[in-house]
């Protein structure tokens, strides 16, 4: 790389590093332990971890088949579906949350039937958190995995077929293991997006301690009254996320 490119690169790195340093210096280190062990904080942290993992799981179960279908062609239908899949990425999360309310809210499209027939109410529940975060995170998973699938040499699947393997067997033993790096990277990106989600969660699932108040929401509430505590909470979330991302550093990029 040409030597002078290091200057804009360094500026970019600083862009990320400086706010972190700002947070670290403003943090109330003396109160950190009492905040970490506070019930509300632990509730929020646990909820964040549980919901983001559930979200990642949903992304895998639903996103993998979608990505597989999308990767198989470029016709008008697939292009249209791909555009819709990308929309949550460009929509402000609050708008995403609003859209979800209009579908799953008690008096709306699907939510109405769910409430009438099964007494189920998705908004204001942990399921609502998972739905909201899955909505914003799945596009990242689908795009990453689709790219991986398109890089998959279809001739291997053909070879497997000539050897007598049916489509599901081929998918399970040949395709999946080969695209596993893309799937892992996609899951990681989706998880990171899900755990940090705020707008869609607070709009759709609301904020109730222990049930729907995830860490980002807890930070928001604390910020209104005790900014120092909010900084501390942010750093806790940051530390947890950074640890996970570091431990899974080999999965970041779909390398061979």
């Amino acid at each position: 790389m040409p030597a002078w490119l290091i200057v804009p690169a360094a500026i970019a790195a600083a862009l990320f590093l400086l706010p972190l340093i700002g947070l670290l210096t403003a943090a109330p280190w003396s109160k950190m332990w009492s905040l970490v062990s506070d019930d509300a904080t632990l509730d929020a942290l646990l909820l964040s971890l549980e919901c983001s993992l559930a979200s990642a799981g949903l992304c895998l179960l639903l996103g993998l088949p979608l990505a597989t279908w999308l990767s198989q062609g470029n016709d008008a239908l697939r292009t249209t579906v791909r555009v819709f899949t990308t929309i949550p990425m460009v929509l402000p999360p609050i708008v995403g949350g609003l859209a979800l309310l209009l579908v799953y809210g008690k008096n709306h499209l699907i939510g109405g039937s769910l409430h009438r027939w099964f007494g189920i109410e998705i908004p204001f529940s942990a399921a609502g958190v998972v739905l909201a975060t899955t909505y914003v995170a799945m596009p990242f998973f689908v795009l990453t995995v689709e790219a991986g699938l398109r890089g998959f040499d279809r001739r291997y699947a053909e070879a497997a077929a000539t050897l007598g393997a049916g489509p599901w067997h081929t998918f399970r033993t040949i395709t999946l293991p080969t695209i596993a790096p893309s799937v892992r990277a996609g899951l990681l990106i989706a998880w990171a997006r899900a755990i940090g989600e705020f707008g869609a969660t607070i709009t759709f699932a609301g904020s109730f301690q222990g049930q729907t108040r995830t860490m980002p929401l807890a930070v928001y509430h604390t910020f209104e009254s005790q900014p120092a505590a909010a900084i501390a909470l942010s750093l806790i979330l940051l530390a947890v996320s950074a640890t996970v991302l570091f431990c899974l550093r080999r999965q970041w990029f779909p390398a061979k």
Binding site: R155, Y156, E158, A159, A160, A161, T162, L163, G164, A165, G166, P167, H169, T170, T173, I174, P177, T178
Partner: protein
């Protein structure tokens, strides 16, 4: 003659990209058919169609008296045809060890892993790769990988074996060993085999019959002798190594488009192809006297040293290749270029209406 018990009976049309195929071929049990032809003729496509990786537009294909591809909805997918295929780039599964690669077909049919692995180990032994059973495809050479690919295809005991240019990816030294391996395995293989070859030597070594595919159509099928006796096209003639002349015949003279003429021993009328073996072309420094009806002067364009003879290419109105000995090159000063006299007996020409 074509054996009565047919194993492959194919008669179909298909399209791949801009290529239109119209193919009819039959292969018997225990028979190997080599498919030859120029690049882009559709040879690989024919194999893919037989394997079930590509659909036909009309006609039908029967493997072992079972219709596998036919009108309307009849189409048996590749995993249900008893076909084993070996691809040009071996296509060994990169994430599986060699033993699991070879065992793959059996495992996907439900055979227990232990049993499948045992069979695989046996096959690896047969192709002299027993020591590498634990290796990954990326750790062995191209030639070795091709042998393993062959074993992988044979391990499922297919009735039809398809080899797509099996020797193409191997380097010169590996080719010989690979060819020997394929020869040995084909001997003990009881089904039919269709292999795509790129040159006549591979076809000769491995196949019983040859089919030549040009532009999506089979122009000729038969043994090497049948092809050599009456090549149906210039490509076939070139393949066998013959000189080929195409033109309009009247009486016993064949006139080419550029006006040059060759005198034949028989009379014909109408368009025809005349072939003559390079061995039948004699070269002289001075104009020879004698019985040959075709005597002419031509410039030496090239002198090619082949394995066991020298081929001298002559230019001019009647481009022709002559086969001579090494000493002749020296005596006639062929290396110096310049003009030389050529003589071909009319009786040496074989003619066929085109």
């Amino acid at each position: 003659m074509v054996p009565r018990e047919m194993n492959i009976d194919a008669n179909f049309t298909a399209t791949r990209g801009s290529l239109n195929l119209d193919v009819r071929l039959q292969v018997g049990n225990n028979e190997t058919l080599a498919l030859l032809g120029p690049n882009g003729a559709g040879k690989s496509t024919v194999l893919r169609i037989l394997a079930g990786l590509h659909d036909i537009e009309s006609g039908q294909i029967s493997l072992d008296s079972t219709l596998v591809d036919g009108p309307e909805a009849v189409f048996v997918p590749p995993e249900q045809r008893n076909v084993g295929m070996m691809f040009q780039d071996h296509l060994l599964f990169p994430h599986l060890r060699l033993i699991d690669n070879v065992a793959f077909g059996l495992a996907s049919k439900g055979i227990k892993k232990k049993v499948a692995r045992a069979v695989a180990r046996e096959w690896l032994g047969r192709i002299n790769m027993g020591d590498y059973h634990d290796a990954r495809p990326s750790e062995i050479s191209g030639g070795q990988a091709q042998r393993v690919a062959l074993a992988r295809a044979l391990a499922i005991k297919p009735q039809l074996l398809l080899l797509d240019e099996p020797l193409a990816a191997a380097d010169a030294t590996a080719r010989l060993e690979l060819r020997r391996t394929i020869q040995a395995q084909l001997k003990s293989f009881s089904g039919s085999c269709v292999l795509v070859a790129h040159d006549i030597d591979d076809a000769l070594a491995l196949a019983d019959r040859i089919a030549v595919l040009e532009n999506g159509r089979i122009v000729q099928t038969g043994t090497i002798d049948e092809l050599g006796a009456r090549p149906a096209s210039r490509y076939v003639a070139d393949l066998i190594g013959l000189n080929c002349f195409r033109g309009m015949c009247s009486g016993n003279a064949l006139r080419m488009a550029n006006g040059a003429e060759v005198i034949l021993a028989t009379t014909h009328d109408g368009p025809a192809i005349a072939t003559v073996h390079p061995r039948a072309v004699a070269l002289f420094r001075e104009k020879p006297a004698g019985s040959p009806r075709n005597v002419f002067q031509a410039p030496v364009v090239a002198v090619e040293r082949a394995l066991d003879c020298i081929r001298v290419r002559l230019g001019g109105d009647l481009p022709i290749v002559a086969e001579v000995t090494e000493s002749a090159v020296g005596e006639l000063g062929l290396d110096q270029g310049g003009d030389v006299w050529a003589a071909v007996k009319a009786t040496e020409f074989r003619v066929a209406p085109s």
